[in-house]
């Protein structure tokens, strides 16, 4: 549509099958870093000079969720260049930041498109955007609206007032579930450089190589990954322990013990091997559970640093001890 600052692309509020599929692919880590839309000003519906301006990131999933939430409304959407990163992570890195916002306001000619001087930003963007400085440099007042995109329509209908719930973070079962695929995909890469060597070592346990033993160890490794990257994130508040590594170690070692005992009569014969498996799989699950701190909205960097200092040596020790036990099992009759 034509504006005083030149033509602006009009976008719809409904997602196509391709959009939904693209979002799923990004969740599974396929082409995630290049899932982007061009930054700049967009028109949802037929916004006029008084229509609200909503700001978001150029990660296509962020952009899609915003335009879907604002379907059938008349809104200006200002998309910042965050290199395909979501609002929160980009704010943490500074790309969803004061400088980019001021630059994008100027580039898009926003002050010639709307009469008001107010921008609606996601609250998660506040760690990158200094509202007072934006006002000083661009004349636009920044209003941090809601945390979740889904609350935006209610916020607009309420006369741009956020209630308590819109301003408090949650981390529901569903919110955790959608984060697990990318964790699992990341973990699976280690099957090649850690799972395989470990399984080979286990395979040689009886003095000669046994395919069955190899497969059991490989399976247990896969299970430890599953514990750390799927079960722990999903059951997070139910598992005891403050540290994610502790939660991961509990789930990982208990699973290894149960699986080891039930598989025991087939292949993992000795108790040394079983102990080795419990130690190593606990450590592997703990490591991947600890990685999930990066995806949660309540872990502080100071806490993560503390957790890593406490738990990494223990994990390394457990894996080493496990290897020693495996080797001992080979030598003992």
């Amino acid at each position: 549509m034509p504006t005083e600052a030149g033509p602006v692309a009009v976008i719809g509020g409904s997602l196509t099958v391709a959009d939904i599929l693209g979002g799923c692919k990004a969740r599974w880590g396929i082409g995630r870093l290049s899932y982007i839309v061009p930054p700049g000003l967009y028109a949802i519906g037929a916004p006029d000079r008084a229509a609200p301006v909503v700001v978001t990131a150029n990660y296509k999933m962020s952009y899609d969720l915003v335009r879907r939430a604002l379907d059938r409304r008349n809104i200006w959407l200002l998309v910042l260049e965050t290199y395909g990163i979501n609002v929160w992570c980009a704010a943490g890195k500074g790309t969803f930041g004061t400088g980019e916002l001021v630059r994008r306001i100027a580039d898009s000619g926003l002050c010639r498109v709307v009469d008001h001087r107010r921008l609606l930003l996601p609250i998660m963007g506040a760690s990158g955007v200094k509202a007072l400085e934006v006002k000083k440099r661009s004349g636009f007042e920044v209003r941090f609206a809601t945390l979740r995109i889904g609350d935006l329509p209610t916020y607009l209908d309420n006369g741009m007032q956020a209630d308590h719930e819109m301003r408090e973070l949650t981390f529901s079962f569903r919110e955790r579930l959608v984060l697990t695929p990318i964790e699992m995909v990341g973990g699976m890469k280690s099957l090649a450089y850690a799972g395989l060597p470990l399984a080979l070592l286990g395979g040689f346990g009886g003095g000669s190589f046994s395919v069955q033993r190899f497969l059991v160890v490989f399976l247990l490794y896969g299970m430890a990954l599953f514990c750390g990257t799927f079960l722990v994130p999903l059951l997070l508040p139910l598992i005891p322990g403050r540290m994610f590594a502790v939660k991961g170690a509990i789930v990982g070692s208990v699973s290894a013990l149960l699986a080891g005992v039930s598989l025991g009569r087939f292949s993992v014969a000795g108790r040394l091997e079983l102990a080795a498996m419990v130690l190593m799989m606990g450590a592997i699950s703990a490591f991947y559970a600890m990685n999930f701190t990066g995806s949660t909205p309540f872990t502080s960097p100071s806490g993560v640093r503390r957790e890593m200092q406490c738990s990494l040596p223990v994990m390394a020790g457990a894996v080493l001890l496990g290897i020693v036990l495996l080797v001992m099992g080979m030598l003992l009759p």
Binding site: S127, E168, L169, F298, S302
Partner: protein, 99 residues
């Protein structure tokens, strides 16, 4: 955050009430409702629930809030440590960093 607790006693968030001018921006930007206004001054409600995102300190007009802000991401920190020893696992420093 309701239903979730992380390691207590490690958060670096500090507020100097003598400097605070009571503008009220920090409660608006905090995603965990850690900060609240009381007698026209900001107040820390529960420091242990802070995730050190730094939004309050960044937006405070008089620098009354100090926090060692950053992203609490273990893999990012491991990559930073490794980079300190000149070891790089991937081409990009972390899985979520922009090019």
């Amino acid at each position: 955050m309701r239903g979730f607790r992380y390691i207590p006693g490690v958060v670096t968030l500090e507020l100097d009430q003598d400097i605070c001018i009571g503008c009220g921006i920090c409660p608006q930007v905090c995603p965990h409702l850690i900060l609240e206004m009381q007698d026209s001054k900001a107040r820390i409600r529960n420091r242990d629930e802070c995730m050190e995102c730094g939004a309050c300190a960044l937006n405070c007009p008089v620098k009354a809030i100090r926090v060692d802000a950053g992203v609490g991401c273990a893999s990012g920190m491991i990559n930073q440590w490794l980079a300190g020893f000149n070891i790089r696992l991937k081409k990009d420093a972390s899985s979520c960093s922009p090019p």
